[in-house]
């Protein structure tokens, strides 16, 4: 009888221990998983073969697009707005290249150093989070902030991945073309049409007005000059208006009117481009 009692007590102890142990193992696993998820940083780890260190051109958290390094500098979240700030660092050699002269309204000519000129436009971004994917980006090529509209109560800890899905780089091109009353419009580059607005005979000269119609002026622009002898320098009609006035003084105006467009087009650079917004190395 006593033997049975002892055996019963021992068995009960073991059953209790086994039951508690099975529950305890699950608890330990779940705790470890939560801790690992809390310490993960999106897109910041590269694992290479043993002994090979990853390299960078400008900063460990850079994203290379063409000859420009995009380096995130910070992230801010408030309400339904997320803003990722970044620098664009030129990698192209530019010793001896003069600055760009541009016109600032109410201020006059202004010089822009070469390393501050835009060579890349990270147009469209995706913010991948635990609550969904949000699209955003900078408002124009001069802005160094990518903005996203997110849900109320958003926290940066929800970010899983940041990716630039569309980036563009400028290239220059000269395109000769001609306009006439029969063919008053010509597409000089995709997304940019030049249209003949008016031809005015001034006696010893002829004034030709053309309009530049760009689907997206941020992505393509052009300037038009006369092509051939007899043309004075062309000028924009007024600041901000995409109209150009050309003056022909070489006698009777040729028909069709020979012109040449100097275009700048923002070409898409094949991506996508992951962005690291975690801490640097």
């Amino acid at each position: 009888m006593r033997t049975r009692s002892v055996l019963l007590v021992v068995a009960a102890f073991l059953l209790g221990a086994i039951a508690a142990g099975s529950i305890g193992v699950r608890v330990i696993r779940e705790v470890r998983t939560d801790e690992e998820a809390a310490t993960e940083t999106p897109g910041s780890t590269t694992t290479l073969a043993a002994g090979v260190a990853p390299t960078y051109q400008v900063a460990p958290n850079e994203t290379l697009i063409g000859s420009t390094a995009l380096v995130p500098t910070g992230i801010e979240a408030g309400g339904t707005d997320v803003a990722i700030t970044y620098d664009l660092v030129v990698l192209a050699p530019y010793s001896g290249v003069p600055p760009l002269v541009t016109f600032v309204p109410f201020a006059g000519p202004s010089e822009v150093p070469v390393d501050e000129i835009n060579h890349v436009y990270p147009l469209r971004w995706e913010l991948v989070t635990t609550g969904g994917t949000f699209e955003g980006g900078p408002a124009n090529p001069d802005i160094r902030v990518a903005r996203f509209d997110v849900d109320e109560g958003f926290s940066p800890s929800e970010i899983q991945e940041v990716v630039i899905v569309e980036a563009r780089t400028p290239y220059a091109l000269e395109v000769p073309f001609a306009l006439s009353n029969d063919e008053p419009t010509f597409e000089v580059v995709p997304g940019v049409d030049i249209s003949l607005l008016n031809v005015s005979d001034q006696g010893s000269s002829t004034i030709v007005q053309v309009a530049i119609d760009a689907d997206d002026p941020e992505l393509a622009s052009a300037f038009v000059s006369g092509d051939g002898p007899g043309w004075r320098s062309a000028v924009f009609e007024a600041e901000g208006r995409p109209r150009i006035t050309l003056t022909y003084v070489g006698g009777p105006l040729p028909d069709p009117i020979p012109l040449v467009a100097a275009a700048t087009v923002w070409l898409e650079v094949p991506g996508p481009f992951p962005v690291s917004i975690g801490a640097g190395s």
Partner: protein, 333 residues
């Protein structure tokens, strides 16, 4: 006792005889229906076992490895993650063209009117781009399907550096294609041809040829008036840069210090004025060219008249040209 009983059967029940009425656990002492097993101790034992293991679980969770330290440790795999270091070479995807500059195609457009390749350049990691001059490319060739073709023209980005656009004759499709920059090296050869003319506005010169080194530049058309100019040329034996200046000798801008005669120059050398874009970069090397010349300085009118006209034609050709490495292009989509 029956005759069949065994000797053991005939033994007296000593246990019963020695049993005391005070001995416990006598079946006869329990109420009917009650178990004889010690359940209460068993329950206590089960709880004790559970408590013992539970204490161990709490201890294991509380005293596990620090999670912050764990995040910095290499992942449990066969490879090792090392801290990133500054590259001493070209960026990924770029091909070293010189010991300081590398290049890569960023866009390719194949159409019936031509094949346009945009090439970006970059310095090696850790190098200041402000200390390195841009590539000086005499011309480019396109290799596709085993055939070579030479560029039609090249354009540098008008608002800075970085991208060069090269236009080639049209190709059907790119197959194992690559572009090769032929670099201008050594000291370039520069020749200035000066032509003196009578002070007559509205002139058109007869075509003429200027030879610089091994390159012959045929000026097909050079015409001008008091407010405009035009030049077109072609070269043979190599590429050239042609930079004309037409000076109306004897003219001046009285509002400016020093001598400021009225000139006709390429747009790239025109000072910034409102309403006109700036083109700070000179025209790159080419096999041909044409451009209008714009007036700089006071208009020719009233007292501001030329006593003579001088044309200075500065022609630059590469001192030497060497082929660099081919830069592979992505296949046509």
């Amino acid at each position: 006792m029956s005759p069949e009983s065994t000797p053991e059967d005939r033994q007296p029940d000593y246990e019963a005889l020695l049993r005391s009425p005070y001995d416990p656990d006598e079946p006869a002492d329990r109420p009917e229906g009650e178990s004889d097993l010690p359940w209460i101790p068993a329950v206590i034992a089960a709880c004790a076992g559970a408590l013992a293991v539970g204490a161990f679980v709490v201890f294991a969770v509380a005293t596990g490895p620090d999670t912050a330290e764990e995040a910095e440790q290499p992942p449990a795999s066969s490879s090792t993650t090392l801290a990133a270091v500054v590259s001493d070479g070209p960026p990924p995807g770029f091909t070293a063209v010189t010991d300081q500059v590398s290049a890569a195609p960023v866009a390719v457009d194949v159409s019936a009117s031509g094949t346009v390749v945009t090439v970006a350049t970059a310095v090696a990691g850790g190098v200041d781009p402000a200390t390195v001059e841009p590539l000086d490319v005499a011309y480019w060739t396109l290799t596709s399907g085993g055939s070579d073709t030479t560029m039609v023209r090249q354009f540098t980005e008008k608002v800075g550096v970085g991208n060069t656009t090269v236009v080639f004759p049209p190709v059907v499709a790119l197959r194992q294609a690559a572009v090769t920059p032929y670099l201008a090296i050594g000291q370039p050869l520069v020749d200035t041809t000066t032509i003196e003319l009578e002070a007559e506005y509205g002139q058109s010169l007869d075509p003429f040829v200027v030879t610089v080194g091994d390159v012959s530049i045929a000026v097909d058309e050079l015409s001008f008036a008091e407010s405009w100019g035009w030049i077109s040329w072609t070269s043979s034996g190599g590429v050239a840069q042609v930079d004309p200046t037409i000076t109306f000798v004897g003219t001046d801008d009285p509002s400016a210090d020093g001598e400021n005669p009225t000139l006709l120059v390429p747009p790239s050398r025109r000072p910034f004025t409102f309403g006109t874009p700036t083109q700070p970069l000179p025209t790159p090397y080419a096999f041909s060219g044409s451009e209008g010349l714009v007036r700089v300085g006071e208009p020719i009118a009233g007292d501001n008249q030329a006593s003579s006209i001088r044309i200075d034609l500065v022609i630059t050709v590469p001192g030497d040209v060497t082929a660099s490495v081919p830069i592979a292009l992505p296949p046509s989509p």
